[in-house]
């Protein structure tokens, strides 16, 4: 799959600090439609903040974030950009969803209900249609026999696969994956990564990933962005970045993560 539009997601002059700690420093970059981009870098370098901003969980202090021509936090009024209404944010956000490090399944709903909740109540799909699609997705992630289980009865890896099915059920254009295997044992993590590889192969959903699973990142991404102290210090293809990193900081970072695993 190749990039059809280089400017599907755009960050322009985005700045974010928490207190005195500058997390993102005047950041600009863009991601094409259907592109899969992995964000790597030491913890605290602002990778997760980028995903959280796209999901509207963290507001930028300055700058604009665009999704397919619409701004996430701003509305055009004539020539001027004004802060977006809740309705506008909801509309733009509807194209994006996220899978979290700690799964965040709804413990009060059975597995299938977790997956059908948004299709029924947000997308307004008929119940039987949503359930048929939910079954299909759960089948795809290898959990076709757990439809009536409660999340608490599942292992971490199974819960994360449900979370992936739940995210796909809203037919997103953009899928954000925030350290989705960091809370899992390596063996279990591999099952989850296999599911994600399949999705990468069979769909053209745009993906932004934050992960420490470097082999996986190399396999699925079109591009890797190396972050350090709130800035992108290297932006390259996975082959380039993993084999011949230019930046000294990238080399030392890769050495440290590859030593860990």
């Amino acid at each position: 799959m190749t990039t059809t539009n280089g400017e599907f997601i755009t960050f322009d002059g985005v700045h974010k600090s928490f207190g005195k700690n500058v997390v993102l420093d005047d950041l600009s970059f863009s991601v094409g439609a259907g592109e899969r981009v992995t964000l790597i870098g030491p913890s605290g370098s602002g990778k997760t903040t980028i995903l959280r901003m796209l999901m509207t969980l963290t507001r930028p202090d300055r700058g604009t974030i665009g999704v397919d021509g619409d701004y996430l936090y701003h509305e055009k009024r004539g020539e001027a950009l004004v802060p977006a209404s809740d309705a506008h944010i909801r509309k733009v956000r509807s194209r994006i969803t996220m899978v979290f490090q700690h799964f965040n399944l709804f413990p009060n709903m059975k597995v299938l209900r977790n997956v059908t909740e948004a299709p029924i109540h947000v997308l307004g799909k008929p119940k039987d249609e949503a359930e048929a699609r939910g079954r299909e997705l759960l089948e795809m992630v290898g959990l076709g026999d757990k439809l009536d289980a409660h999340p608490s009865q599942l292992s971490g890896g199974q819960q994360q696969r449900v979370a992936i099915a739940r995210a796909l059920a809203v037919d997103p254009d953009v899928l954000l994956l925030d350290e989705v295997t960091s809370a899992l044992d390596p063996e279990i993590a591999a099952e989850v990564l296999d599911v994600l590889r399949d999705i990468a192969k069979t769909t053209d959903v745009t993906m932004l990933l934050v992960t420490h699973a470097m082999k996986f990142a190399r396999d699925v991404s079109h591009r890797v962005l190396m972050f350090n102290e709130g800035r992108i210090i290297e932006d390259a293809s996975p082959e380039q970045l993993f084999n011949e990193p230019e930046h000294e900081r990238t080399k030392s970072f890769l050495r440290s993560v590859l030593d860990e695993t």
Binding site: F106, P151, A167
Partner: protein
Amino acid sequence: MNFEWSGVWDAMPTMLDGLLVALAATGIGYVIALILGLVFAFLRRSGNRWVSMPVGFLVEFIRSTPLLVQLFFFFYVLPLIGISASPLATGAFALGLHYATYTSEVYRSGIDGVPPGQWEAATALNLSTRRTWTNVILPQAIPRVVPALGNYVIAMFKDTPQLLAITVVEMLGGAIAIGSETFRYSEPIAAAGLVYLVVALLMAWVARIVERRYGQVRV
């Protein structure tokens, strides 16, 4: 001092009449406390300071003044502003309002106990605010608050004798009325205490059953 058990027994019909009054006050008051407490909890969470601060002040004010003062206040003030309510209705309302300040704290801690990841997942799925509350947050918050809410029914029931101050005759009132006729107070008051004890224990038993049925949090 001699104590006649027959006097306790003789007081029972009056006690049962009084019990109905006490249960009515508890029942109406509790429904008010459950609903109004949730309203208070919502308003205090409001992002608008012009809403959350006055409500917060009101809740603290009511919680920090005695129920008895509030009973008198409503009993004398409501008619002045043109609301004519029976003493029982006034009493049930005051009880409900007073306990709503407690239940609002219970709701608040229950809501705060739902992990932030649940709100984030709801946002990621673009659920509306209303859906997030009704389908995600409250179903997880309510099981956490069932035990504490159960305790407040019993506490409220035991506060109903204070309604005597505004002429509502429940069990204690009935006992004193018998005493003033027969000049024997100990037996009817013992009867009132006995009925309070039995009913409170029954309520605790029911509360435990409800707790076992609905008070479990799946994590």
